[in-house]
């Protein structure tokens, strides 16, 4: 049993066995991160290029660190300050970077489908670090891994994704992965932020937050992506916060322990209140810690796949 793929472009089509293989490897990687010397020689001689055409803190640092923990060499590219501003095309940029003899490319781009495109024009392994509103597979994996650590089992677990589903690649990757592992998935948010025909993915829809919370064991609170909203989807942030913001008051009313995830970065006191984000329900920092382990596992499994 192994991860039989050259690229990780999304969680769509990734089997249960593959996800568990990644989780098992991530578990071993977590042990390495607890050591005094947090480094293993596994990917010595492998060069990984991080191509970030869009801003990122967590994902870029996390991939960077994951590669270094495995002793790979890393080059980092960000589009600001690069030749993109001189009009170089994506294909040319990527091909030129590959000509410097790299083995794997981690790519983030504001356009959906860029990782797929790169997988067609490059020989390297491609790992999607978020493309437009399409997928962000390693985020989906680390969210589900964090839930699995907490609950032991994903099958039958009731997970609700809350907020801006329409613009969210995190939501899509979570839905694909959770569906594969047999979770009961629901979504909740203002109708303007829920994609049309989302029911076809097999998720339940709630328009009322308290209803949604009542029917969930864990929630994944998504960021309001103001940079991706071409038109006003709701009147004010204040109204959004009133109707869909996760607050301690709301959670206390439930009389049950509910687990709260957030992929970051947080708009404090918009989609989630500061006291919840820092409180006992929150696994937000566990997600960040697990993120490095998951990315180490993905890099390890992709870069050691002999069929490549």
């Amino acid at each position: 049993m192994s991860l039989k793929r050259k690229h990780l472009l999304g969680l769509e089509g990734v089997s249960k066995e593959e996800i568990f293989e990644i989780f098992e490897a991530a578990q071993s990687m977590k042990e390495i991160l607890q050591r005094p010397i947090k480094k293993v020689p596994t990917l010595q001689g492998v060069t990984i290029a991080n191509l970030f055409f869009e801003n990122s803190t967590r994902t870029r640092l996390s991939f960077d660190l994951a590669a270094r923990r495995l002793s790979a060499d890393v080059i980092n590219f960000t589009s600001s300050g690069s030749s993109i501003s001189k009009g170089e095309t994506l294909k040319d940029t990527a091909r030129n970077i590959e000509a410097m003899k790299i083995d794997a490319v981690v790519v983030r781009h504001h356009a959906s489908g860029v990782p797929k495109f790169l997988s067609e024009v490059l020989k390297s392994n491609i790992i999607n670090a978020g493309d437009g509103a399409h997928e962000h597979p390693t985020q989906g994996l680390l969210d589900i891994f964090t839930l699995k650590e907490k609950f032991g089992e994903i099958k039958g677990l009731r997970v609700c994704l809350i907020g801006d589903i329409a613009h969210s690649r995190v939501a899509r990757s979570n839905i694909e992965g959770l569906k594969t592992l047999g979770a009961e998935i629901s979504i909740c948010g203002p109708a303007t932020l829920l994609p049309r025909e989302i029911e076809s993915l097999g998720v339940k829809i709630f328009y009322n937050l308290d209803e949604a919370l009542k029917n969930a064991d864990a929630i994944n609170v998504l960021r309001i992506q103001q940079e991706r909203m071409e038109s006003e989807r709701f009147p004010t942030l204040r109204e959004y916060q009133h109707l869909f913001g996760i607050t301690n008051e709301r959670l206390t009313k439930l009389n049950k322990k509910i687990i709260v995830l957030h992929p970051g970065p947080i708009n404090r006191d918009v989609e989630i209140s500061a006291d919840v984000a820092d409180g006992e329900h929150s696994l937000i920092l566990d997600q960040v810690e697990n993120g490095v382990a998951i990315r180490m596992a993905v890099l390890f499994l992709i870069c050691t796949n002999k069929q490549n």
Binding site: S2, E31, I32, R35, I37, K306
Partner: protein, 191 residues
């Protein structure tokens, strides 16, 4: 008294010999445990680490033996060397990661490193590199159930259950009760 080695030939003309049966298997582990105690009179800093997967089982049994011989707690750990293998990107199969579980501080411990078969020595080299990343042990000694020769790097065992002469193409099959349902070591001659 020396036991006769039992030979069997199966339908494919492959030649099987039993190197250790369940009784001699157990006796061998007991003998090794005694040797360790004899050599390491100060058992306070002793610790046993087994290499996944068969080495782990053998190490666990040796630890139990040492505990009953010394009446002391002996720390026990499991080492997975997959991430340290020098062929991790060149061998045929995609490696499957197992778990390293060493929950004690190895600094200043006298480590007994246990594996089932000593062959090229590369596994042990990887294990030594892995241990170095976990701290500075006082000493590391190697204990193997079978030494079959054909070293590719200069590594030598301190405690050996049984030395056997093999050809490079032979294979040694070690089975243990905990995983395979029986304790046995078989030498398979390839024709």
């Amino acid at each position: 008294m020396k036991k006769p080695i039992l030979k069997n030939i199966n339908a494919d003309g492959e030649n099987f010999s039993t190197i250790l049966d369940s009784i001699s298997f157990d006796k061998t582990l007991k003998r090794i445990s005694h040797e360790i105690i004899e050599k390491k009179s100060d058992s306070d800093t002793l610790a046993v680490i087994g290499i996944c997967t068969r080495g782990e089982t053998l190490a666990k049994r040796i630890t139990e033996n040492l505990k009953s011989l010394t009446q002391k707690e002996i720390p026990f750990g499991i080492l997975d060397i997959t991430l340290y293998r020098d062929d991790v990107r060149t061998s045929l199969n995609q490696p499957h990661l197992k778990r390293t579980e060493i929950y004690f501080d190895i600094n200043n411990k006298k480590i007994i490193l246990v594996d089932d078969v000593l062959f090229t020595g590369r596994t042990i080299q990887a294990a030594l590199n892995a241990l170095r990343d976990l701290g500075r042990a006082k000493s590391i000694e190697l204990c193997v159930l079978i030494d079959r020769g054909h070293r590719e790097i200069p590594i030598k065992a301190d405690y050996v259950g049984k030395n056997i002469a093999t050809s490079k193409k032979d294979s040694i099959i070690v089975k243990v009760k905990e995983i395979d349902g029986e304790d046995i070591v078989i030498l398979k001659n390839e024709r």
